[in-house]
Each structure stands twice: as structure tokens, then as C-alpha cells.
């Protein structure tokens, strides 16, 4: 393979994002150690255009976010439609936020093409692809703070690059860019679930996903809750794969959020509070997609599991 997710992302930054930073309402600057920070929504205002760029960067040039429209409850809302080529690589080796770097007692969770350089986490290692041609490393962080030079140095070292080679794209959840980029993690949420249930990521040929965008709010915890509501109660992913039908049928009841009958319908903000607002304490089965449609190229059959929780979506929309 001769393509480079990181070079694709860096090109998007240098050819489009940087020349249009005023139009995108973002800030770009270098730290003392040479790391380039793209503030798309920590202090910067951001917007729809910046949010799309954040997602497209995170997909490493293998996919894009398109804005559409759908209903959440009885209300039309913007919808976040994600299309990816090479879904196993785009999501598992890039988009998934699984690269964890310990810093001052907490973990910095990083997504983006940077993960594909060394295959730094188990999801990145679910595919063979490694970005051996990367001239720079591009990471994305959902955060309320601008990473320090020290933190960036640790991230660069863990990824196997120099700080000067590093780009970090950052935004709060309590901002339009945060609301969009997290909501756009529809396929990103689905593929690791399938991986956990024994699906080979190389067998997934195509994928698309859509999520209703139900809320943007200032408060980080409320924003966190509502954007996750949009995923567990609202996202629908189409997966086109080759396998035996029995493999799909055998796990249909185990995959989607509706399986969590004791908490289904509860807003995620409340669920998260039960876990002390700490992702490491959220049971893996609670981070489950809302709805998955399987289309088996081998058999020509389709299967669906999960359902949209329109009442919970509407409650989050109304606030």
C-alpha cells in the first residue's frame, strides 16, 4: 500500500485549513517545541466548516463528513453523514480515539492518523496498515485545554515522531466542532464493537453512518451527555461485509445499545455520572451503537439490529 493517512491529513491542513483559518473561525499556532496546534474549539469559535475539517482530518483522507437532515423525535435536525473508503483502516487505524498517553495522572485520548504510524493501540493493530510514509503525525483530541509542550512531547515520543512533526487538532465537546466531531463517530463506534465480537476488519468492505445532531451547549458535561445520546440512541451505520450469515445472526442481539435494558432510555449524562464521569469506568457494553445494518456481499442478504430512541433524542434536543 502506498497511501499515507498522515500526509493526507497534513495536506488537508496546509492546503485548505490553514489558508482559510479566518473563514473557519479557528486558530493555528506553534508551541515552543515546534508542535502545530489547530484550535478548532477550545478557545476558537469554530463552526460547521471547521467541524467538517476536524472529521475529515481524523479520517486521514479516506472519508468525509457530509451534512444532511433527519428527524429526532418529531423534529428535523442536522444529520452527520460519514462515508469512508477502506473502513477498517479509516476507522480502526485512524478515527477511533484509542491512543492513550498518560500525563499528570490522567490519560490523554488521541484519535486520528497518528495512530497508524506505529499501531499504538489494539484497535489500530486490528488492521495490517501502518503509515510507513508519514512525514508528519496528525492527531485529534477532544479537550478543554490546549496541550502543553510537555504533553505534546510525550505524544510525539509515543507515536515515534518528533514534536516538530506533530499536528494536534483540538476542540471542546461544548462547542459546535465538538458536537459535530463526536457525533460523527458513528462508524467509529460500530467497528470496534464488531471487532470485539470477532469480526475481521479486513472483511468489512464499505461503510456509512449517520447521526442526528441534537444539541450544542456550553457546559462540557451536559454536552458530553447529549452528544453521546445522539450516538447510543440515534446513530445508524451500514456495514457491507463478506462473511457467513450465521456469524452475523449469532451476535445480532449483543451489539446495540438497546441490549442494556436496565439503563435503556436513560440520558447518557446520567449514565456517565453513575461512572463518576470517568470513561475508564464505563462498561464496554454501554459504549454501544444504536443501530447496525449488515449487508453481506457473500450471501446478498441484509440484517438489522437496534432501534432509534426517539423519545430520549427529543428530550435531549429540547433540554
Amino acid at each position: 500500500m502506498t497511501f499515507s493517512l498522515n500526509n493526507n491529513a497534513a495536506r488537508l491542513i496546509e492546503d485548505y485549513v490553514r489558508p482559510n483559518k479566518e473563514r473557519l473561525n479557528i486558530d493555528i499556532f506553534e508551541l515552543d517545541n515546534g508542535t502545530t496546534i489547530l484550535d478548532m474549539g477550545v478557545f476558537a469559535k469554530g463552526g460547521w466548516l471547521a467541524a467538517k475539517a476536524f472529521v475529515d482530518i481524523g479520517l486521514g483522507g479516506l472519508g468525509e463528513l457530509c451534512y444532511r437532515k433527519m428527524k429526532a423525535g418529531s423534529y428535523y435536525v442536522p444529520a452527520l453523514s460519514v462515508l469512508v473508503d477502506r473502513p477498517g483502516i479509516a476507522e480502526m487505524a485512524s478515527h477511533v480515539a484509542r491512543f492513550r498517553v498518560p500525563y499528570k495522572g490522567r490519560n490523554i485520548d488521541i484519535s486520528g492518523p497518528i495512530r497508524s504510524i506505529k499501531g499504538v493501540d489494539e484497535f489500530a493493530r486490528a488492521v495490517e496498515y501502518r503509515d510507513v510514509e508519514a512525514k508528519s503525525a496528525v492527531g485529534c483530541i477532544q479537550t478543554t485545554v490546549i496541550p502543553t509542550a510537555e504533553a505534546c512531547g510525550l505524544i510525539a515520543e509515543a507515536a515515534g515522531v518528533t514534536p516538530e512533526q506533530l499536528y494536534l487538532v483540538v476542540a471542546r465537546t461544548g462547542n459546535i466542532v465538538g458536537a459535530v466531531q463526536v457525533g460523527a463517530r458513528n462508524i467509529e463506534q460500530t467497528l470496534p464493537t464488531l471487532f470485539d465480537h470477532g469480526f475481521d476488519m479486513e472483511d468489512i468492505i464499505q461503510a456509512s453512518g449517520v447521526t442526528p445532531m441534537i444539541s450544542i451547549v456550553d457546559d462540557e458535561l451536559v454536552a458530553y451527555g447529549r452528544v453521546n445520546d445522539s450516538l447510543i440512541y440515534g446513530q445508524e451505520t451500514n456495514v457491507y461485509l463478506r462473511c457467513d450469515d450465521e456469524k452475523i445472526l449469532g451476535v445480532l442481539d449483543e451489539l446495540t445499545f438497546v441490549k442494556n435494558r436496565d439503563i435503556y432510555g436513560t440520558p447518557f449524562q446520567e449514565i456517565f455520572a453513575r461512572c463518576d464521569n470517568d470513561w475508564t469506568q464505563v462498561p464496554r457494553e454501554w459504549d454501544a451503537p444504536c443501530k447496525i445494518n449488515f449487508h453481506n456481499l457473500s450471501s446478498g442478504r441484509s440484517f438489522s439490529t437496534g432501534k432509534l430512541g426517539h423519545q430520549t433524542l427529543e428530550n435531549s434536543f429540547l433540554g
Partner: protein
Amino acid sequence: MNLYNFSYEVFQSIRARIPDNNCSFIENENGLSMVDAGVEMPGGWSVAKKVLEGLSCGLGQVNIGEILLQDFRLPTVELLLDEPVRIFEESFRGRSSVNNLRIYGPGSESDAQAYSFGFAVTGEISGEIPAKGNLVAAGNTSLAAAVFNTSLPVMTAVEALLKAGVPGENILWAWSSCPVATLTDNKEQMTKKNEAVRRKGAVISLWLRADADVLKAVTASWEFGQLRLHELVTAKTYIGGCLDEAGLSRELL
């Protein structure tokens, strides 16, 4: 790239696609470059979309979506605006009418009297329009005019909030969806259809910071489709008006 340059480039991109986009071009001795996008020429979707891109000055995105009315799947225009107040002030607040012709659009950076991208709904394509700069003109029965019409509800909402005293910097982002009225050659019918989509078919969301009392007042008197004001600090949504798909169907189909 500043917004005037962006809008100017949009005008040039329209001009570059003539005649493929079913438009024509006129230049008069007053320095007005004019594209006929729906007066004597039919125009089409590409120029209609570019009208809104030019008027939004690159500060957002214009998409074509759809709505199902009875058995008809009809196009809608979805606007995602990063600077709704700036777009309103540059392009929609409007300068004084030129010979009763309302021209929308941002001015020119170098000449306050000229348009880097102007748009007008007019029944005549004439070299006598006393304006300068770049103008796209379309008749009221044209697709370009119908598409332009879909932008008016969200801009009306911005205007209402500003008039209610909400500071412009507190109105952050906007999203709207409005059906494109079904076309007819009858000017009177077309005017009614365009009004119907604004009043019964528009859905507008604005994200902002403002007092609840102000938002309740604005939504209470809302007449253009369904308005949703999402208050960022309290995380509450205030809703005014309604989507009337049944009524819209009767008016359009």
C-alpha cells in the same frame, strides 16, 4: 481570503460556466457586470446554489436536501451558517433600493457603492440598472429566485433577535431547512408559493446566548415555519411557530 474576495470569486465562477449553466452575461457602461440567471434565461441549480454561496460570503455551506410531502419528494435548501449575523449584515440587511430594485449581497471592499456579489429578483434584464459591480438577476418565477427565497426565514430570525436586543456576537451558528417552492410561470402564484414555503415549511435553528424572556418573546410571535432557539448556557431550547406539511402540500401541489 476575505469575504468580499470570496463572493467575487463565486460571481466569477458563475460567469465562467456560462452558457453551460443556462445563464447569460451583460456588461454595461456604468461598470455593472450582470448575469441573467432567470429573467430571460432559465438558469438552473448550479447558479441557484451559487447565489446563496455568494450571499453567505463563504461563511457557511449550502446543501440541497429533500422533504416528503404526500407522495412527492421535493428539494429543500439546507443552510449551515458559521456567521449568521455577519451574513445578515453584509448581504440581507439591504442597502437602499436602486430604482425600487432591492439588491442583496456584500459590497465591494474598495467601493462602498458597488457589489462584489449582488442578487436581485427582477422582471427585466436591462443595462439601465444604476448599480456597480457584479449582479446576478433572476425573475420571480425562476429557480434561482425560489432557492434564494429559502434563505429568508433564517435571516428573518436573525433580524428578529437583533431587534429584540440580542447582541450580534451572542448569535453563534445557524441551520435552516426550507423547501424550494414548486415552480410556475404565473408570477402571482409563484409569489404565493414562495410565501407558503417560508411560512409553513421552514425549519430554523439558531444557537445563541440570551435571556429566556427575550427568547420566549421572539418565539411567541414567530410566523415563518418552526423556529428553534437553542440557548447555550442553560441548554434549553425555545420553539416558536410550526411546520405545517399538510398546509404546505395544499399550497404547492
